[in-house]
Symmetry: C2
Subunit: 479 residues, 2 copies
């Protein structure tokens, strides 16, 4: 008698934990970080590369879709199954045993199922860290699959810039395991294939292990909040900060008044550095840091920051209307709570946009005028990464609007914001959240036909099975 | 009457300068930076993206091989035609008009035919530079096609890490122009296609323009030469330098005694920082730098360096046998002259290897013992980039050996060194010189069959014409 799908999976699974089929066990995996919720046939939880390979081979043989998932903190529906109930969810959360630290190479080999916080806790004993700074706490596999950026991008770059090597299981009939580039910092012997798997949501292969380049953990940090005279003076502040502070500059973020207000209103226990005064319209958060404690003979970072603020304050062009040094332990919780604060402020329409640095400011200025005219019920709660051109551009629709069909309103806002970002300001509709079912429509609209075809061909060659988000599947642009 | 190949090319060429057919005009393009010399049907010198497109389309239509070339300073025979006389050489040296500096984005859009020295001269007026530091003076197109590293890799990364966007002409029937990723620092809307064209010698497409991320030009620099007690103490020096100096550390290089000796003997006008004493066995060159002049209130970099040397000198493990601060203007000419100095020392067999940082030292220690035993006529003149694991591993064969067939000796040495690098020490046989006809054999030997097939498939999809080095051409692994 022919075996069933589940029997074939059981044949290759190494432990009873490897397959979840009960509704209650599957639920946390089927539910995304925000609102989306799908349904999986089974949740597979392999614990070794070999087990992933064998399970993938069974799924490909049976023609079943596979959605890889690690920390499931993504925001674009890239790590959850759809609602058909016909997909397999393959979780990497048991890929946790590999941890090989190489202090001389300043690198670590680590499993895809290790959380960022966990990795950094282990590394901190050695004065090292993986320098991606986020509000969320994802696992390494997902960070690679979305090419996460975060608040220290300006200083350390994104995940791509800090990944030396990968192990990847291809979605082919053998579940082929590729070992890509090991732990070398320099290697130019052909296509750097690992790049194809970074930022593509697992569609080209399942990242099971990575070798990451590490940075020295800052031993000293200073933070300040700067209030520019106007949006037009921000570029000058950025240029001066980079020139004067060089690689000490580890963050150059911004928070709008609306975003801060919503955060103070909705997140308890935050300290308001502006308490007693009105919230400023636009605040720049700069951080400087260094990986050693100051020697007696040198300035502390607080002194470096103070000197910088004085110079900028006295600059003949008067770029600042105010500047206050602040404690990192007050400011970063505020910055990292904005996502939560804004989410609680009402019906949220969130964007993860990126621009050339100057044009980000043009976009902010333009939408400040246009959005109230075009979408009077929407208010903008923006914040983001000025230093690398990224902005979390969030709109909240007031309750009145729900009299109309909210989906229509939301659709119109989404289309307009993304069209304005991509066509008018040459920006990106996914700066650091990656691609998932949520932005399928815009992927189809803004990808060139040639590039989509070549992508589908490459996916066919690497992972002919239906692996990952549908963007790269053959013919998906006709959906 | 059917048109000839040259007539078709003339039809699309925009100026008489665009096609060179005279032997004397072609010669400098046909001759490589070292010994190789090929022969081209014509040398094409298009000056715009559209002219490149049209010329490529004609060559693809006629089934003629195209070898792209920019500065022609490469060392692996990637930018010169072979000796058949059946290939077209397409030079990018007239792609020089585009130069769009964006100070706020800290980036520049530049044509593939601009030399590094020229670009950096223009940028220096603005206190900026493209932070790839080399002995040679290549053009931007070739730097991207080989993913150049250089002496400041440790601080700034390679060309890949500093490239924001590319324009690429594909080797297809239309000479399709791809505009990839513009000038964004963050963009995750699919495969980051520009990565495929970086470091692949133009085989997947001809890079015609690039948007480069820029760095702040150092305003202050300090250099020192450190003599480790033994090879075993080098990792500790590296770790301490990174911890103590952080991102101020801009180079961590090494020079062997043989390499320095050959350089002083063969390159005039160099200052010997060890004059009067014996040359040390192994010298570490460290550089620190920062993009501003010291303020009165802060230490100069000379003081920072001195403090560091004192701390290291007094370290209980005694990692140093000597250390001398030195003038950058004395030391860098020495470091950058080694390639020339060694080349003049005899019959050279040069390797561009890379390892994990710790294993580079293991490789040096191992070959120091093994090479004299296995190849008694060879002497090692090594130097390189300890901070990123790269080594220019050079052997000189003594004249006696020429009694035998030098090709056989050289072949045996090459095979052994590369086998030892790749198999015994998990290294790379091309750290930063890229791939060309010169390392075809090793590309075939050490690339997996699956990866080679997928590469050939991707090349077929992007650039079905015979573009660039033969490594990626269909079936080349059967040669």
């Amino acid at each position: 008698m022919d075996k069933s799908f589940i029997d074939c999976l059981k044949d290759v699974s190494r432990s009873p934990q490897s397959i979840l089929s009960e509704q209650k066990d599957k639920l946390p995996y089927e539910t995304g970080a925000r609102w989306e919720r799908g349904q999986a046939i089974f949740v597979l939880r392999p614990a070794t590369n070999e087990e992933i390979s064998d399970m993938v081979a069974v799924c490909v043989e049976w023609g079943v879709d596979i959605i890889p998932q690690s920390g499931n903190t993504g925001l674009v529906w890239g790590s959850t199954p759809d609602t058909t109930g016909n997909q397999i969810l393959l979780s990497l959360d048991r890929m946790r045993t590999v941890f090989e630290l190489d202090l001389v190479n300043r690198s670590v080999r680590v499993g895809a199922g290790v959380r960022l916080s966990e990795l950094n806790a282990k590394l901190s004993e050695h004065g090292l860290f993986f320098p991606i700074d986020l509000g969320a706490d994802p696992m390494i596999g997902g960070m690679i699959s979305t090419n996460t950026g975060g608040s220290k991008f300006l200083r350390y770059g994104d995940v791509r810039a800090n990944t030396l090597g990968l192990k990847v299981v291809l979605g082919d009939h053998d579940g082929t395991l590729l070992d890509l580039n090991s732990a070398l910092r320099k290697n130019n012997v052909g296509v750097d294939w690992k790049q194809v798997f970074i930022g593509t949501s697992g569609a080209f292969g399942i990242v099971s292990e990575a070798v990451l380049s590490l940075e020295l953990l800052p031993q000293q940090t200073a933070v300040a909040l700067l209030m520019p005279t106007s949006l037009a003076s921000v570029p000058m502040v950025l240029i001066e900060a980079e020139r004067r502070l060089g690689p000490q500059l580890s963050a150059f973020e911004y928070m709008s008044c609306n975003a801060m207000e919503a955060t103070f209103a909705n997140v308890a226990s935050l300290k308001n550095p502006f308490s007693g005064t009105e919230l400023p319209e636009f605040v720049i958060l700069i951080e400087i840091s260094r990986p050693w404690m100051s020697r007696q003979s040198e300035q502390t970072l607080d002194q470096v920051m103070e000197d910088f603020l004085v110079e900028l304050w006295e600059h003949p062009d008067r770029p600042l209307s105010n500047a206050v040094p602040a404690a990192p332990e007050d400011v970063w919780p505020l910055r990292h709570s904005i996502a939560e604060g804004v989410r609680k402020a009402g019906y949220l329409i969130a964007f993860d946009l990126a621009f050339e640095r100057g044009r980000l400011l043009d976009f902010i200025a333009y939408t400040k005028v246009e959005i109230p005219k075009r979408f009077p019920s929407a208010r903008v709660f923006d914040f983001g990464h000025l230093g690398d051109g990224g902005v979390h551009f969030n709109l909240i629709i007031s309750p009145d609007e729900f009299l109309d069909d909210v989906d229509i309103v939301e659709g119109a806002i989404r289309d307009w914001v993304i069209e304005t970002c991509v066509r008018k300001f040459d920006g990106s509709f996914s700066g650091e959240h990656g691609i998932g079912r949520k932005n399928q429509k815009y992927f189809n609209k803004y990808s060139s036909k040639l590039i989509t075809q070549i992508g589908a061909g490459l996916k066919q060659a690497l992972s002919p099975g239906n692996l990952g988000v549908p963007q790269f599947h053959k013919g998906c642009d006709e959906n």
